[in-house]
Amino acid sequence: MTTTTRWRALTRHNLFWPVAVLVALLLVNIPFTPDFFAIHMTDGHLYGSLVSIVLFGSPLILVAVGMTLVIATGGIDLSVGAVVAITGALTCSYISDQKDQDALAGVLLAMGLGLLAAVVCGLWNGFLVARMGIQPIIATLIIMVAGRGVAQLITDGQIITINSEPYKLIGGGYWLTLPFSIFVVAAVVAVTVALTRRTALGLLVESVGGNAEASRLVGIRSMRIKIMVYVFCALCAGIAGLMISSNTSAADGNNAGLWIELDAILAVVIGGTSLLGGRFSIGGTVVGALVIQTLTTTIYTIGVPTQTNLVFKAAVVIVVCLLQSPKFRAKVFGARAKTTAPATPAAAPAEPAPKMEVS
């Protein structure tokens, strides 16, 4: 009895299904790569599939975390991919112009410059959405289209290769035997969680997304909040841009972060945040992003023929979404649940049921 109730409470938890899918996907790899979970030391750092999932998934996690807040306000940001490209391009082109590419000051300045550009993009998006009242999808489409042009303008259409050890650290380096990017992601996620849950920002964001007019009438400065989340999202995309360009030590204005916005949105939704705005879950988003990255890695390792990559991806996305849909679960598993546990409803006490699980 207690185990069944605990199990039911667990399955009701909003992270249960995404995590279950993540675990399932990881397990799928075992028959194909028996030592999939093995991690060993190579060249003084940890090496293994799990490490590379986190390493290559880092930019997606970052972008998706930023995207979560935007979506929570009822918006959407299509420009993140372009921002990734601009940031990487600007930073790399600045570094490549330096005489000593290893000089820390120069690298920091370059990164600052790149992130500044990202913030400017975010401000512009925020301005269009919050101030001008333009629909987010179209407001951010502008930078999505023009931004890549700007990135290519900066790189002159070429791939800029740099050779800077300090810059390499962010996206490709290791620290304490772990990929440095894990620490960056952890820091950004921690800051985001702190910012939204330790302060009232999360509440206000959810309120704006849940009912914009009501929020205005309780005196929430929704314009400011919206601008803030777009800037934050762009900043996250900017950091992801640094990471992507640092990972390969090259800035590719055309391909860096291509279609990352779709994956990010997908991650947010898999994580349980509604695209209509309102309630959001950063933890869910991180899991969602890991699901997507694991899926990508799985496609590479289990030897799916290239032409069926997308079909495979579509199938997984559909399965994840179906599993997450309470309606689907009720229809498919519902019948069985009723027959196996008929005692539970009858035994339900007349007094109010136990308090619901709170995240």
Binding site: T161, S249, Q307
Partner: protein, 311 residues
């Protein structure tokens, strides 16, 4: 907008300046940008008025660009087709308007051969074949014994260079190395460094015994090299690498011993194109297929060739 009117003097035979409409595929790679730049600077040098448009990888954009060139009554139309098929209708319109069409970079499939005059460019399938050939040399040089386990990094799925390079490579492999060569894994790296790096990292997990990498372009090879190093292996030694394109960074990697051989695919076909345009415009005859000057490079040639790389 009338521009470049100052450069009139260099026009052909003192007559009216030639107007060339050029529709580029896009700017998806450094190779492509170098190609565009080459066309632009060559046109300027030759004193032609160049109408340039970028199709952003979309065939429909190229078609409407060509339509617009027809409406603008340019003298010659040149374009690098996004895909091989589907050009009949618009090329017929060009023909009806008596505007000669020159293809660059790759061919098209048409029902009527008179729809275009000539093709200036290389052949992706041939590049694949050359890659396989040079791999033979590389293996021999490295003294690799036993079975050759190849990992292939494909270009964007569905894109012609990816399909044809793979085809050419396989052709040679099937014909000459049916028993000793095997492609053990093959995935798309989307022609990008990040893609190459990620896919290679996964390959090394699932098939640690790979000893040869064939990448459809240099960028993917460069990305893959990083993954190979991260796995504690030596690119160029533990894993032999052959790639196609010949961009500068590729040559840098080759001179460092990380890539074993590169099959060149030369984007700088602007000057050649301009010559052809002039001949065509003046009513001369040209060959059906004008191949660009390209070479294959092994490691020992890398150092020498590096300074000549422009892009």
């Amino acid at each position: 907008k009338e521009d470049d009117s100052a450069g009139d003097s260099a026009g052909s035979g003192g007559g009216k300046k030639i107007t060339l409409g050029f529709s580029q595929v896009g700017s998806e790679s450094g190779w492509r940008t170098a190609n565009s730049e080459s066309v632009k600077s060559a046109a300027k040098e030759a004193g032609y008025t160049l109408k340039f448009s970028d199709a952003q990888q979309k065939q429909e954009n190229q078609i409407s660009a060509i339509r617009n060139y027809i409406a603008q009554k340019v003298d010659v139309i040149a374009f690098s087709p996004v895909v091989v098929t589907g050009w009949d209708a618009v090329l017929k319109e060009a023909k009806a308007a008596k505007i000669p069409v020159v293809l660059t970079d790759r061919s098209v499939e048409t029902s009527d051969d008179s729809l275009y005059v000539t093709l200036v460019g290389s052949d992706f399938t041939d590049e694949g074949r050359r890659a396989a050939k040079i791999l033979e040399k590389v293996i021999e040089k490295a003294g690799l014994k036993g079975n050759v386990k190849i990992a292939q990094l494909e270009g964007t799925t569905g894109a012609a260079p990816a399909i044809e390079r793979a085809k050419g490579f396989k052709e040679v492999m099937d014909a000459e190395h049916k028993d000793d060569w095997k492609i053990v894994v093959s995935q798309t790296g989307d022609f990008t460094r990040a893609g190459g790096k990620q896919v290679m990292a996964a390959f090394l997990q699932s098939n640690p015994d790979i000893n040869v990498l064939f990448a459809h372009n240099d960028d993917m090879a460069i990305g893959a090299i990083q993954s190979i190093e991260a796995a504690g292996k030596k690119p160029g030694k533990d894993i032999l690498i052959v790639s196609i394109d010949g961009v500068k960074d590729g040559f840098v990697a080759m001179s460092e011993g990380k890539i074993n051989a590169i099959v060149e695919c030369n984007p700088l076909l602007g000057p050649q194109l301009m010559e052809v345009v002039k001949t065509v415009h003046d009513g001369g005859t040209v060959e059906r297929w004008i191949k660009t000057k390209e070479g294959d490079f092994m490691q020992d040639q890398a150092k020498a060739a590096l300074p000549t790389r422009k892009y």
